[in-house]
């Protein structure tokens, strides 16, 4: 049962993905009621988008570690819940060595339980926000409209959690995809796809999405040429160095001038990938069988060919030339420019929010300059906030921002904070329900 609208609330989340769940959970943990929270978005579940992408990628475990899950505080961790659920010390042993990665089915099960227990759906207005208007009278607040410009609600504080922009294609592939015959053979790692046994595929990129695709192609019995523009990156467990997940690292990062921050982001986010034992085995086996090879170069031309595609690859240092392949998979992710997200583009246009190279120049509290005030916050989370929180688009980063945003709102509204026994009870009850639900699903094998 969704929320009726127009709806007045203390805090609203624009977007109904993971970010909304974490803001909602944190708000409930601190003491806000569902009546005071509104979530705007058409999807009936916060996990839909992620689940689809994970399925398309063939992803089975998260890259994140045990703290990255959907309860507001850091106890219990997911490994502790998992260990309790399966009555096995295995997850705890792994987590002491930081080798525990929650399985995708397990973490999505938890998200569902948390969402149901805390009444996420009761807060959701099933409409996409098309415009946000700043109003100052009788007190600073925002008025929200849908994409048909209908009034859908008001809120004192707003969190923008619109998610990723559209999928990104290298220019040559974007051009080739205009031809329907070629388009069906050029896919994105995040799209639904199927590989044919014995087929030959080029996979662009060497980040986690691309490596997943190498493994998927090798699994089906096909061959893969891993093509990168630069020599392949070092393996790295997490997206950014560990201490950057915490305030100490974020303090140092935010203190850098804008240009240095952007340069730093470019360096740490250049498609790193975690080292996974099972991936390494598959790739080594593929190499031995002559079904896997890596090359440095770029695609210069794509035409229809006897195998499906006739592709010219401009190698760096070595001549690669024309290749006949079954298909190309681009692991090039999403377009990171905020201008590709309609609502943000309108806000940037109208309110003159500063944007540099497609990134919002946010305040150090992830607030939107000009529109954000301490007594009426307009904050951003996710990829659009990674100029302030470098891992802003991970569960840990979303949690980091949610905690601070909701705490700001609690202070602005003089919220009576939930008592310790009540918080403990909330954690134990939800943790118990999650543990019970995990027993009903098979354990996802760990890869690290």
């Amino acid at each position: 049962m969704t929320a009726p609208y127009p709806r007045d609330s203390v805090l609203a989340v624009v977007g109904e993905g993971f970010g909304s769940t974490l803001v909602h959970t944190t708000a409930r943990y601190l003491g806000f009621t569902n009546r005071e929270i509104t979530i705007y978005g058409p999807n009936a579940s916060p996990i839909n988008t992620y689940q689809q992408f994970a399925h398309n990628l063939g992803q089975t475990v998260l890259r994140s570690e045990s703290e990255s899950h959907f309860l507001a505080p850091d106890w219990p961790t997911f490994a502790q819940i998992d260990a309790w659920s399966r009555k096995s010390p295995g997850p705890l042993w792994r987590t002491t060595r930081r080798k525990y990665n929650p399985g995708v089915p397990e973490i999505l099960t938890e998200a569902q339980i948390v969402m149901q227990k805390l009444g996420w759906e009761e807060c959701r207005v099933p409409l996409r926000v098309g415009w946000i208007q700043r109003e100052m009278e009788p007190m600073p607040h925002f008025v929200l409209y849908d994409e048909q410009a209908n009034f859908i609600g008001r809120s004192k504080h707003v969190m923008l959690a619109p998610g990723h922009g559209p999928l990104s294609w290298p220019p040559m592939l974007a051009q080739a995809r205009k031809d329907p015959k070629l388009a069906e053979r050029i896919v994105q790692a995040y799209q639904a796809k199927q590989y044919a046994p014995g087929g030959r595929y080029i996979v662009l990129g060497a980040g986690i999405a691309s490596v997943n695709e190498w493994a998927n192609i090798l699994d089906i019995g096909a061959s893969v040429l891993a093509l990168t523009r630069n020599p392949q990156p070092e393996t790295q467990d997490l997206n950014v160095p560990r201490c950057l997940f915490e305030s100490l690292g974020i303090d140092a990062y935010v203190s850098l001038p804008w240009e240095q921050r952007v340069r730093f982001l470019g360096e740490v986010l250049k498609g790193s990938r975690p080292e996974r034992r099972s991936w390494l085995q598959k790739i080594e086996q593929g190499e031995r069988e002559g079904r896997f090879a890596a090359a440095v170069g770029e695609i210069g031309a794509v035409e229809a060919g006897p195998a499906g595609l006739h592709v010219f690859v401009q190698g760096k240092g070595e001549e690669i030339g024309w290749l006949d392949v079954t298909g190309i998979t681009a692991g090039t992710g999403f377009n990171k420019s905020v201008l590709t997200i309609p609502l943000l583009r309108r806000l940037v246009d109208y309110y003159k929010v500063p944007v540099v190279d497609g990134r919002l120049k946010l305040q150090t509290n992830c607030g939107l300059p000009g529109l954000d005030r301490p007594d009426s916050r307009l904050c951003c989370m996710g990829l659009i906030a990674n100029s302030i929180i470098p891992h802003g688009d991970t569960i840990a980063g979303l949690k980091f921002i949610s905690r601070r945003f909701v705490s700001d709102v609690a202070r602005a509204e003089n919220l009576r904070i939930r008592s310790f026994p009540s918080r403990l009870n909330m954690q134990v009850t939800i943790g118990h329900d999650v543990a019970k639900a995990l027993r009903t699903i098979p354990t996802t094998p760990q890869l690290a």
Binding site: E137, Q363, R404
Partner: protein, 186 residues
């Protein structure tokens, strides 16, 4: 976790409170100050290690290292307790140390995260859950709203309003358009 020296000391202080209270009660009951003295030695030694040693050798501390450090601290506390002659038997000192550690680690793992949402993210420091660098708020670049008059709409707007009755003298006034006026007609 990447604890700072301050974070280590604050955390150590917070997790040793319950064992210290229990040890104090036991000391009072048994009339043996050794129980509370041992906790005091553990605390002082820990603070010295936190401020003078760990900060230089450990940046990121995985959970397994926490246990390894505790084993090292146990050996040092054991030696110091013997040297200072705290008045406990070996068995009593060992049991007290590990019982205190179990209570402390439970406090650290389960209680502190519930008390402070950002304690782990803040490197073990007890800070307000807030942003590291205070934001500089800026005024809105465009004027999207007008200052409203507390008395409502301007007087003239109220006078022009069609809500009220139109005065008679306004009904037959000529049109401002000059299109129909013949300029040659005087």
């Amino acid at each position: 976790m990447c604890p700072t020296s301050l974070g280590r000391v604050q955390t150590r202080w917070a997790i040793i409170i319950i064992p210290a209270i229990i040890a104090a009660v036991v000391s009072l009951i048994t009339h043996n100050a050794g129980w509370i003295v041992l906790i005091g030695i553990y605390f002082v030694l820990g603070v010295l290690l936190d401020t003078l040693f760990y900060r230089f050798v450990i940046r990121w501390q995985p959970p397994w290292l926490t246990f390894a450090l505790t084993v090292g601290e146990f050996v040092l506390v054991y030696i110091l307790a013997h040297w200072l002659k705290v008045g406990l038997t070996n068995v009593e000192a060992i049991v007290e140390f590990w019982a205190a550690w179990i209570i402390a680690i439970w406090t650290k793992v389960a209680i502190l995260p519930l008390l402070s949402l950002s304690w782990i993210e803040n490197a073990g420091e007890f800070r307000q859950t807030g942003w590291a660098v205070a934001p500089q708020y800026v005024p809105l670049a465009v004027t999207v709203f007008q200052q409203t008059d507390p008395s409502g709409a301007p007087r003239l707007v109220r006078e022009f309003s069609s809500v009220g009755t139109l005065p008679k003298e306004l009904r037959d006034l000529p049109s401002p358009s000059a299109v129909r006026i013949n300029p040659f007609k005087n």
